[in-house]
Subunit: 278 residues, 2 copies
């Protein structure tokens, strides 16, 4: 990759930046296909974020922004156009200018999760899904499951208000979906998602009672610290098909690439070119 | 060079960006010495420049900014601290934050020119110099010649007011230097500088009457379009030592590197690693 006066810029906005992975995935990919663009980490504090975002999107060579912690929620209020997924998720992780100069935002965390499920052959139309954990990532996954056409969504969070707020947004945007809250019994679902941080630390309890998991239930995970978390191991032992946490990351990148208007590719190709070991 | 979450950012601010050379010099250099920093072109229009500059300097990983056309003059008014060179030149091409968070600017176009002269063995203390052309680059060279201790500066511009304004700023900051304007006869100078665009186009007249150049006079050039401009060829034929235009570019980069606090190097090393052919 050689940066020059024709290089387009994708700002990767978050704070802190040290754990950023996107530059080591996108930039080798761009180099591999001869696209003159670069993802640049920008360590931006919350108090200056509106100023930074506004300034960056006046640049001629800005192609877009990847938005991460702690800016995903505050970005929503800075957009001119927000997709339904952004509105339901209450968060945004991708920003671009459209042809009219408007700031357009979308949210691909949940889309990555859903794409992973689809590529593993899970039919989502009319499916019954349980999402445990209604923080940022849980809201994003619920929003994308709704957009994918599930028939029923059960939401659980130890902070009941979070689940209820998300349920309200889902009912507003997707009145045809049956939305319930307050229960995390995994029995009877086509899909069960751990969207809590449980599994990050050794000795964490499992997010749901795996003894109640049926073998036909698909189990998805958001924790990326280890590929096979204790929850996924237990689910697999019950006969369930599973999706690991990093699938969400690699599956969402093609969605991002389409959003920004770049040639897209498969998660496998991205995993092959990524230089995450650096 | 692999950009990751620890990469420091140097914004290269100008408009348009297409002819930018700095990314193809700095980035291969940083890679060659293992410095995790990247120069990123940012096409910034004048009306949004103050916003962009302010926003960028709130970022945690901003190391500094390289400023070029059309922002060198307007930057001066946005600084908290301006060096005498910036004040005399009326322009700034390098910005950083200091330890107190102040925006500090310096100007290295003229410094590059002066470093080139020094490395060619020209003694500047007390020297008599003629600068023809008092636009941006002429002002910058005059400011750096003054800082380098010349004894007399003669300034000429077809727009007399430009030369007179520069003379006024020089007299304020360097009262010991004899500053004159209005004459471009190169006779009797230790150094004659073409700081006009003459030489950019075939058939341009020479900037001064070369028949009046003494062999002991050193002749410098700012035009970079060809290495040996007609003016330099004529001066060399008179027996003068000369400095080509791109020396100013490569000689100023070590000054920039010092300003930003990076390990510095020689212009030769920079020319060797640069990938300008891209």
């Amino acid at each position: 990759m050689q940066i020059n006066g024709h290089t387009e810029l994708i700002a990767h906005l978050g704070h802190p930046t040290h754990a950023f992975k996107a530059p080591m995935i996108y930039n080798p990919y761009f180099a591999s296909i001869g696209v003159n663009a670069v993802v640049v980490p920008m360590g931006c504090r919350p108090e200056s974020y509106p100023l930074v975002l506004r300034g960056l999107f006046t640049l001629d060579n800005i192609r877009g922004a990847l938005v991460t912690m702690p800016h995903k929620v505050s970005t929503v209020g800075l957009l001119d156009v927000a997709t339904p997924t952004v509105q339901v998720a209450g968060a945004c992780n991708a920003v671009k200018r459209d042809a009219e100069g408007r700031l357009v935002g979308d949210m691909f965390d949940g889309e990555g999760f859903v794409r992973g499920l689809r590529r593993k052959g899970l039919a989502l139309a009319g499916a019954r899904a349980l999402v445990v954990g209604c923080g940022g990532v849980g809201c994003a996954i619920a929003a994308s499951l709704a957009a994918a056409g599930v028939g029923a969504l059960a939401l659980f969070d130890t902070q009941a208000q979070s689940a209820d707020d998300l349920a309200g947004r889902l009912r507003t945007h997707y009145p045809a979906i049956t939305v319930t809250t307050g229960v995390k019994d995994p029995d009877g679902f086509d899909l069960v998602v751990n969207a809590t941080p449980l599994g990050m630390n050794p000795g964490d309890p499992l997010p749901v009672d795996v003894a109640r998991l049926a073998p036909g239930t698909f189990v998805g995970e958001v924790v990326m610290k280890t590929e096979m978390t204790a929850f996924l191991v237990a689910a697999q032992a019950r006969g369930c098909r599973v999706q690991i946490g990093t699938d969400m990351l690699f599956e969402q990148i093609p969605a991002y690439l389409e959003f920004f208007g770049f040639p897209t590719t498969t998660p496998e190709e991205l995993r092959a070119v990524a230089r995450l070991e650096y």
